[in-house]
Structures are given as structure tokens and as C-alpha cells.
Symmetry: C2
Subunit: 318 residues, 2 copies
């Protein structure tokens, strides 16, 4: 049987720059760039809650890191280092090999070093900590939105939620649609390059992990402002357009979790600059509404009339 | 029902210096001291593995942070910030109140700010990440032991393991002994002040979480050296002395986990300085042996003869 140390060494060790001391001591020793603030977050994925028992371990390794990288993207931070704590019912080498391959492939793509961790027996639980850096006072926060800001989102919304609704038979996707949506759910792309490019441009930002309404709601609460969103401007995939105005599809679009796109606000005067940024990054950036004085979110239908917002974001304890 | 955000705000938010942005955004923004290296570690505690289902939540909150602080102590680091990811079967407010009180009491005592986290439903799992700092090149590592170094340990060894053996009826403690040993198991004291005081003195250090033999073994492996330990010099509590040479007591002394004392090596010429340090910190520091060329650990009995070392440290996957 592998010992804990062998397990970490065999599956999770790889060389990376910027690490004074990595896996194998009581803690890692890391060097922040001059003039940078440290950015730290953690996300825990639990079996039967965030993924099913039979989930593909390579994709799971990718997702465990991706959701943490997405937090760095939302802060405009450069991810640098990750730690991983794993509770495993048993040591299955094939599972670990595939899981670590998925994790490490994404880590390498973003030059993130795995510098520490912990392994133990227990119900399957994956807890990743991500550490990054951002030039002082350049982080994208939730509390910086300003009256008159435009509201933007990256990519398309609701595909991950459509995949989930499809697997739960709440709606039916074509095979091609299902493939694309399930891929969005299983292998989200953290918008690191966008987050970094938005430094000095976006006034506020968040990643959409709990659904647009809930996550934009966090920006509004933190910034103590209101927002107006035009439903028709929400960026949709072909599958979403085919299914709308199916109720489950509307819910996926407005309150679907696991998208990991960025929602951000910026001055109207930066509209062209942001549109150009989308072209540069080959990423669709869509202006979906604006920030106003007040509180709460108003959703306008195609005729300009307010729609009832009953759908709220996913909350793990509701 | 509490939402995730309310849960974090209600139980885990408290003001602390050195935090540019704490709980409530996608990530925390933190400022490292000038000339410092970042030190990062994580430890996961799983129900039925590291603690029993009915464990006192206040003590559990203390321990979840203490085991992480102990990693900082072992590096000679100053702990600064913690993040906590919690999987909970259900939200029990009384449990959370006591758990967070235990966690926060220890955090405050060490001026550690809780700056982020994640909560989700799932089998009870507590994953804490600790971030600290240490002046560049001053960290205590496992790989720095030198031939001729003396080997030291803080406190007494094996009390936590005696408590465990007592609850498993492998041996019998008196009520007074049981109380003291169970307290050592449930409420370990991280040796932060000692770790910091050993900067520039100790050549290597580790915290004893898996037992003396296993953890000193890590120093020997990393430093590619051997060690000799004199059994009679091992620092023991009255309970341990009463029970020796009971086999379970010997095992607790040599291979008992959860002590969270420091084991470190330093030049013989620093012997008096280290002894004085013990007085200053009101912490027993005991010289138990020395480092030699070679590999492996030799344990000498009272007659100076090598004892067989069959006992190995606790490994979570053995």
C-alpha cells in the first residue's frame, strides 16, 4: 500500500518556478513578487453533492482546480500555487493517476505549482486552496461597482445547468447539445486571462458559480447599488435558444450554477475597449445591462417590462 | 435556514489587522511583510477518522486550527491568516457556535485572521489552510540537520496516544491521568513561540504529528543522515512513567501521533542557549540524542544497547 508521502510524491509532485520549498516539509515556502498582494481562496468538492460517485477522475481533477482558478480570475489575480487536501475511501491507483493528470494538466497550463497538501481516508472529499498575486490595489472586487457602469458577462450562460437539467430529465437536449453542455459542466474554463486584462478597467467582478442573479446580486449588495438586465441580451448557446422559453431553461440561464464565467461592471466610456478585449482574447463579452442607484435587480423582457424574479441562485444550505 | 454567506458572516467573521479584504469576496487580499517568505500548509480532519462523531465542537474548533498552527511552528513561521472549508451533514447552530468559538479563541490568541472559506453539505469534514510568513532564508526545514547536531523535543511525548489507547481499553489510566492525556489529545498547544525562537538556531525541525520515530525519520531522510536516541532521555509524563514498560505505552511514546510537540536539531555549541530558551518560554526542552553520518534511527536502552525499532509512525494509508 502507498504511504501518504509516496502518494503525494508519485501523483502530485512536479517542478515549477517560484517555489522555494514545495511538497515534503511541514509547509511550503513561497515567494511573492515585489509590489504584489497575496490572493487566497479555497473550494471544497464533495462526492454526491458536487459530483457523482462515478465521475470521470480526469475531469474531476480538472474541475477541482478550475473552480479555484475561477476565484483568482474573478479577482484579476495571477494564480501561482495550489494545495490539495484529499479524503479518499481507499487508494485506487488508476483513479489517482487520472485525477492527478487532470489536475496537473490544468495547473501546468496556468503555471500553477502544487506546493502542498494532505491525504487521509474518509468519504471522498476534494479541498483545493489556491494562492495567487495581484499588483497592490489592482484587484477586482465585488464592492467597486459605480452608478452608470455597464454590466458584462463572458461566454454564454446556463450550459452547465442545462447539462444538469438534462441528466435529471427536466428537459431534453440533442446529443450534440448534451455533449457541449456536459463538457461545460465537467470541464469549466477559468477566465484567468480575462480577469488579468480587466485590471484597471473593471470596477467590480465576480465569477458566476451560483447563477447570474445570485452572483450579480453579491456585487449589488457589496456595492450598495441596483441593476437592470435586459433578458434578450443574455448570451445564450444554440441549445439554450432552442429551449427558451422553457421554464427549466430560463432557470438555467438566470440561476444556473457552475458556469464559471465572469460578470463584471465597467464605465460606459470603456465599452469599445472591452469589446476589443473580447476579440483579442477570442472570448465573447456581452453587455447585458447597467448599474443604477438603489437596491435589487430588475429584469426587463423584450418589451421593456419588468419580469418577476422568483428564481434565486443556488445556495448550499437552502 | 442560514445561507452559506450568513453562516460565514455569523460564525466566522472577526476584525483583524493585516487583511486588505477578508471573507465576502471571491478571494481574500493579504499583505505580506517586507522581506518575508510566504508559508502555506493545509490539514484535513475527517469525522470517524481524526475525531469521533460526538466530539466536543469547541475542542474540535481548537484542534482544527491547532494542527495547522503546529505546521507553522515547525517552520519557525509567524501564522497570519487561515481559511476554513467545512462539509456539514446539516447546519446545527449550537454546534457551529461552539466550533467557531474554539477556532476563533485560538486564532485570536495567535493573532491569526480568518480570511476565507467554503461551506457545503456533506459528511463532516474540516479542512483548514494556514498562511504565515518567515524572514527570507530563516525557515526551519526538515533537510537542514547536520552531523553532530543534538536532537531536541519540546514538552512530553505520547500523552495524546495514551489517551487514545485508554479510550480503546488498550491500557488503563487513572482519572487524573486520563484527564490530562485526553486534554493533550483534544486541545494540543501549537509551539509557535518556540518555532520563532529557534530561527537561526535550529538546523532542522518538524512537528510530531505521526510519532517521534516517523517524524524524526522524515528529518533523517530529508537530511540524508542517521540518528541515535537514548530511550531513557525521552521526556515522559507521570502517567507514561507509571505505565512503562507496558508495550502500548512504549508504542505511544515512540510512535504516538497527535503530540504536536516540536522535534528539532541544533549544534552542540547551542546546548546552553536552547536550555535557557526552555526556561524563558516555560517549556521543557529535552536533548534526546544526536545526529550521525549514515541512515536510519538507532534507539539505545539504559545499558547503551540498540533496541529493535519495530514501531513505525502512523500512516493514514497503511
Amino acid at each position: 500500500m502507498l504511504t501518504e508521502f509516496e502518494l503525494i510524491r508519485r501523483y502530485f509532485s512536479f517542478a515549477a518556478p517560484g517555489v522555494a520549498l514545495g511538497v515534503g516539509d511541514d509547509a511550503a515556502l513561497l515567494e511573492l513578487s515585489a509590489g504584489a498582494q497575496l490572493v487566497a481562496a479555497t473550494d471544497m468538492l464533495v462526492c454526491d453533492r458536487h459530483f457523482s460517485r462515478g465521475a470521470d477522475p480526469f475531469k474531476l481533477g480538472h474541475k477541482a482546480l478550475a473552480v479555484n482558478l475561477s476565484d483568482m480570475a474573478a479577482m484579476g489575480a495571477t494564480p501561482r500555487w495550489a494545495l490539495i487536501a484529499l479524503a479518499l475511501p481507499q487508494v485506487e491507483e488508476a483513479w489517482l493517476e487520472a485525477f492527478s493528470a487532470g489536475f496537473i494538466a490544468l495547473a501546468r497550463a496556468h503555471e500553477v505549482a502544487l506546493v502542498g497538501g494532505d491525504t487521509t481516508r474518509g468519504p471522498l472529499n476534494i479541498c483545493v486552496q489556491i494562492l495567487g498575486e495581484v499588483p497592490i490595489n489592482m484587484a477586482l472586487r465585488r464592492d467597486g461597482a459605480k452608478t452608470g457602469d455597464e454590466i458584462w458577462v463572458s461566454g454564454t450562460l446556463g450550459e452547465a445547468a442545462l447539462a444538469l437539467a438534462h441528466t435529471q430529465s427536466l428537459l431534453a437536449l440533442d446529443p450534440g447539445e448534451a455533449e457541449r453542455c456536459i463538457s461545460a459542466l465537467d470541464m469549466p474554463t477559468p477566465r484567468i486571462a480575462l480577469g488579468k486584462a480587466l485590471r484597471g478597467i473593471a470596477h467590480s467582478a465576480i465569477d458566476i458559480s451560483d447563477g447570474l442573479v445570485a452572483d450579480l446580486g453579491h456585487i449589488l449588495e457589496s456595492s450598495r447599488l441596483a441593476a437592470v438586465i435586459e433578458f434578450a441580451r443574455l448570451p445564450t448557446s444554440p441549445a439554450m435558444r432552442r429551449l427558451l422559453p422553457n421554464e427549466a431553461a430560463i432557470k438555467a440561464l438566470l440561476a444556473g450554477g457552475d458556469d464559471y464565467e465572469l460578470c463584471f461592471t465597467a464605465a460606459r466610456s470603456d465599452h469599445t475597449r472591452i469589446a476589443a478585449l473580447g476579440c483579442e482574447l477570442e472570448l465573447v463579452l456581452t453587455c447585458i445591462g447597467w448599474i443604477e442607484k438603489g437596491a435589487g435587480l430588475t429584469l426587463l423582457d423584450t418589451t421593456g417590462k419588468p419580469m418577476p424574479v422568483e428564481v434565486t441562485g443556488f445556495d448550499h444550505f437552502r
